[in-house]
């Protein structure tokens, strides 16, 4: 009997690592990639590296905050544009 999940080779699995990390795979493809990762330590090592890298980039990329006075300036401008609407 064939397994219900289609099997992927290493190349096909690796092509989908980013989509898996971004939650962009359909459930059946995701299951197939995860199955491959379970069965293949080489791919799992690459996947974990990519996962760590994505986490690293997201963390560093979000370290900057908007300057405090920018928000105040914007809120102040909203008052002006609300007032203009009222007239």
């Amino acid at each position: 009997m064939n397994s219900k999940r289609p099997t992927l080779d290493c190349q096909e699995a690796a092509r989908r690592f980013h989509e898996l990390l971004d939650n962009e795979l359909t459930p059946d493809v995701e299951a197939a990639v995860r199955q491959h990762l379970e069965d293949c330590a080489d791919c799992m090592a690459v996947f974990e590296f990519e996962e760590a890298f994505k986490r690293f980039v997201a963390l560093r990329a979000r370290s900057t905050e908007a300057p405090a006075d920018l928000k105040q300036r914007i809120l102040g401008q909203l008052d002006i544009s609300s007032a203009a609407h009222d007239e």
Binding site: E24, A45, F53, K54, V57, A61, R62, T64, S82, H85
Partner: protein
């Protein structure tokens, strides 16, 4: 006082204003300097407020704000289309750095030693069309479909740009880490 205007203001403050940090971060990566980024973020938020009746409730407000931001950037701010572009993304597309570091640092711990400024500099060195996909995904958490709408390209294009952008960024940061002495280049 017009009660409609009051309600609009409340809704905008509750739903849109909390995304100001994201709007500013993306503005900074597109515009490249702080003064411009502040102006761009402010223009974006005020335009969004003016067009608030066009925002479709229940859709991703971040994606909507960033669509306005991108339009505003392209029409009013972008002067030099070649900003960034110092990295040849096509050169790196096939290679993950993993294969070079697997013997010394398979978990990529060396990345953690790289400071924020260096990561942002590396992001800025990507060509604009790759940089914006990366930023919209990794900074703003948009889905591929949302990014496709914001930048007005097919989802498949988003996918391939994002993939290349990440590989190029990884390679840039690896090269930096080697030069800074955070990791030894593997001899293969």
């Amino acid at each position: 006082m017009d009660p409609g205007a009051d309600e609009k203001r409340r809704a905008f403050e509750k739903e849109a204003v909390p995304h100001l940090d994201t709007v500013y971060r993306v503005a900074l990566r597109l515009a490249g300097d702080q003064t411009q980024a502040e102006d761009l973020a402010q223009d974006t938020m005020l335009k969004a407020y003016g067009a608030w009746h066009q925002y479709q409730r229940g859709t991703n407000v971040r994606a909507w704000l960033l669509t306005i931001l991108r339009h505003t950037f392209i029409n009013q701010y972008r002067r030099d289309k070649q900003r960034g572009n110092t990295v040849d993304v096509t050169e790196y597309e096939k290679f993950t750095v993993f294969h070079e570091v697997q013997e010394v640092d398979p978990e990529g711990r060396f990345f953690d030693q790289i400071v924020d400024e260096e990561v942002l500099r590396a992001i800025d060195s990507l060509p604009e069309e790759f940089r914006e996909c990366l930023v919209l995904s990794d900074m703003a958490d948009l889905s591929y479909a949302e990014i496709a709408e914001v930048v007005n390209v097919p989802v498949g294009t988003v996918k391939s740009r994002l993939f290349r952008a990440r590989q190029a960024l990884q390679r840039e940061l690896y090269e930096y880490a080697v030069e800074a002495g955070y990791i030894k280049r593997s001899v293969r």
